[in-house]
């Protein structure tokens, strides 16, 4: 079916990302306006806006299957792009779209279901000879069963949500005594996030690298990979920085892992863009972890090193087109790094720091790509994730990409919330990171500090504090100090005074 108009069932930077490509392909787009973000930036990229801001329903519209179908039908959208998160990996939703003659821009409901259920995915991988970590046969009923299996495969083990992804519902257990608590937390988190409390257990691979392969498949059964992404820089199982390619792989290993990734995709007749995630241990053994049946946050690094627009491919494939290139046509050139600039407090263990973005300016150098859904005045709201922008930097090789990244990070200017910028400034200067010597445990184990400040920054901050004190306590024309009269002073007043300075 020819795609004429796409309903964007998402918000933020990914909504904008999809609409940019759609516009280039001369396909109309519909965005949904919500009460939470009625002035959001993504709305200005749509050809049409469906106003849902009067909706008082408890569930956000991007999770409301019936509502989204109704909006697509009402606006005459004959296709729907789910983006990532929300309903992107909901097989029922994909099926509902098909039932209503709306093209779902993504894989088949069957593929989503099979890969979404980690116990089924494990079985499929096993049948296809894909290397995997040892684990439970299926889901685990309670912590007693968990303890029994863990003692069989040996600690440490990891509890994972059967319907999981994105790090939620995941807990590492190092000894039997921790099992009860961790089982409870993982299962509770899984229920909350995925409406399915079932969990399973796997042998926990110590200090692995997280390597994933980008897959593209069409409806005719052609499946290829677009190389790997290195996503080991994570905290709480959530990715912070991604690269393509990975310096841990040589051509031989890339071929081997890529072949396995294609094989697992073939097992579910995969079409559209997808990602096969592996863990790579220090001996370069790799283990299938899961397949994500959506476009991913970190897709731009692959786009940069392959020159392929993944959203365009998703749209073409959904419209029934065959892939115009084969495995041998895919060439990886250069290096790309993506930093996820989130509204988080790195000095407080990466705790979310929602708030209004007062000032925002991003570098516009030729080696920088910025994907964002935030502009000055936008708010990072607690309802959604904490992403402000993705800073994607390229170079001819890894070294140049890191150097460019260092420069670009110093040009990013954000005021209003704390951000992950000081963390990235530290990372690009870290010797182990520069040498490619890092695993998924890097942030928690190998760093004793999560931020970078140059030699004089603390001193300058001290000068500013002293200046404030002087403004507040010492009279203009004397050097006398009025003791005991410490007053509270509003930063606003300070700013006003400083403007005259």
């Amino acid at each position: 079916m020819k795609i004429r108009k796409i309903l964007i069932a998402n918000r933020g930077e990914i909504a904008i990302r999809i609409m940019k490509t759609a516009r280039r392909m001369k396909i109309r787009t519909v965005a949904v306006k919500t009460a939470v973000e009625p002035l959001a930036m993504y709305l200005s990229f749509a050809d049409e806006i469906f106003d849902n801001s009067e909706d008082t329903s408890e569930i956000p519209v991007f999770l409301d299957i019936e509502k989204l179908i109704a909006i697509a039908l009402e606006t005459g959208a004959n296709a729907l792009h789910p983006g990532y998160g929300f309903l992107a990996e909901n097989a029922y939703f994909a099926q509902k779209c098909i039932d209503n003659r709306i093209t779902f821009i993504g894989p088949s409901p069957d593929a989503i279901y099979k890969m979404g259920n980690k116990t089924i995915a494990r079985k499929l991988a096993l049948q296809n000879g894909i290397p995997m970590a040892m684990g439970s046969e299926g889901n685990i009923a309670n912590e007693e069963e968990a303890v029994a299996i863990a003692s069989k495969i040996g600690y440490p083990v990891i509890i994972k949500a059967a319907s999981g992804g994105g790090g939620r519902g995941m807990r590492i257990v190092r000894k039997a005594e921790e099992m009860e608590k961790m089982f409870f937390i993982a299962s509770k988190e899984a229920e909350k996030a995925f409406k399915d409390p079932s969990v399973f257990i796997e042998k926990y691979i110590e200090n692995p690298k997280h390597i994933e392969f980008q897959i593209l498949g069409d409806a005719k059964g052609n499946i290829i990979h677009l190389g790997e992404r290195e996503c080991s820089i994570q905290r709480k199982h959530q990715k912070l920085l991604e690269e393509a390619p990975s310096c841990a792989l040589d051509e031989g290993l890339r071929k081997k892992m890529g072949k396995m990734a294609v094989l697992i995709a073939k097992a579910v007749n995969y079409h559209s863009a997808g990602t096969v995630e592996f863990l790579l241990d220090s001996e370069k053994n790799f283990y299938f972890m899961e397949m994500n049946t959506r476009i991913q946050v970190e897709h731009p690094v692959t786009e940069i090193v392959t020159g392929i627009d993944l959203i365009e491919q998703q749209i073409r494939i959904a419209g029934g087109e065959e892939l115009k290139f084969g495995q041998d046509d895919v060439k990886i050139s250069g290096w790309a790094i993506e930093c996820r600039i989130n509204a988080e407090d790195v000095q407080a263990g990466f705790a979310p720091d929602p708030g209004k973005i007062e000032k925002l300016s991003m570098p516009d150098d030729p080696y920088v790509r910025v994907d964002t859904g935030i502009r000055e005045g936008s708010a990072i709201v607690a309802n959604y994730d904490s992403m402000i922008a993705k800073l994607i930097v390229s170079g001819k090789d890894r070294r140049e990409a890191i150097t460019n990244c260092k420069m670009a990070l110093d040009k990013v200017w954000i005021k209003g919330t704390k951000t992950t910028l000081p963390f990235f400034r530290l990372l690009v200067r870290n010797q182990d990171f520069q040498d490619g010597n890092f695993t998924t445990a890097f942030i928690e184990k190998d760093l004793d500090k999560y931020y970078y400040n140059s030699e004089y920054e603390e001193m300058l901050a001290a000068w500013l504090a002293t200046k404030l004190f002087v403004e507040e306590n010492l009279q203009e024309d004397s050097i006398n100090l009025d003791f005991g009269n410490g007053k509270e002073m509003s930063p606003w007043l300070f700013n006003k005074r400083m403007n005259q300075f």
Binding site: R168, K181, I185, K188, K236, D345, Q347, A348, G349, A351, P352, D353, E358, K359, S361, A382, Y384, D385, S386, D410, W413, I414, K415, K418, T419, L421, P422, Y451, N453, E457, E458, M459, L460, A461, A462, W463, L464, A465, T466, K467, L468, F469, V470, E472, N473, L474, I479, N480, L481, D482, F483, G486, K487, E488, P491, F494, N495, M498, N499, F501
Partner: protein
């Protein structure tokens, strides 16, 4: 004029006990080695408030100021200082030598959210890094861990209640 005193120097003490001294009247020149550099505090529409130092702009924000205590956000990193005069610094030293170190630790909510689980009881002994409560915020369940070894003296946190940022969750006697 008894409570007015001549001040020639001010000290900014960081929360990690680093001391930065500045002469009064405070000027905008900072000496490093043999050279003096000019530090300027500026503000405009494009950048907001910033410090200009060696031709580079650094974003600054005053997060909090209370009496002589200031929390400054400088280039996305927060610093807390108390500004002391030579006299108050002297007084502090005397007080500190009498008092010894801080004995009680208040664990506060790092962000607003909902308490999913409280894992400690009053009276229980706790090791540094051990989980105290599970706080759900922005779709993540966050383990709030003990910053110290000690004994729980009071638990303010209640399961299935909402907390604001900086609400005290647990009081720990440092051991």
């Amino acid at each position: 004029m008894n409570d007015k005193l001549q001040i020639k120097k001010l000290y900014a003490l960081s929360s990690e006990n680093r001391k930065f001294s500045f002469s009064v009247p405070l000027n905008n020149k900072i000496r490093i080695g043999k050279r003096e550099y000019i530090v300027q505090l500026k503000s405009d529409d494009k950048f907001g408030t910033y410090i200009l130092w060696k031709n580079r702009k650094y974003p600054v924000e005053i997060v909090r100021s209370r009496q002589n205590k200031y929390e400054i956000l400088f280039n996305d990193i927060s610093y807390t200082f108390t500004v002391e005069t030579p006299f108050s610094l002297q007084r502090m030293k005397v007080l500190n030598s009498k008092k010894g170190k801080v004995e009680q630790e208040l664990v506060r909510a790092p962000m607003p959210g909902r308490l999913i689980d409280v894992l400690v009881r009053e009276g229980s002994t706790i090791m540094r890094g051990e989980a105290l409560v599970i706080l759900e915020a922005m779709k993540m369940q966050n383990e709030i861990q003990s910053p110290v070894n000690g004994k729980i003296i009071k638990v303010h946190a209640k399961t299935n209640t909402n907390v604001m940022k900086d609400d005290v969750l647990v009081e720990i006697k440092v051991e």
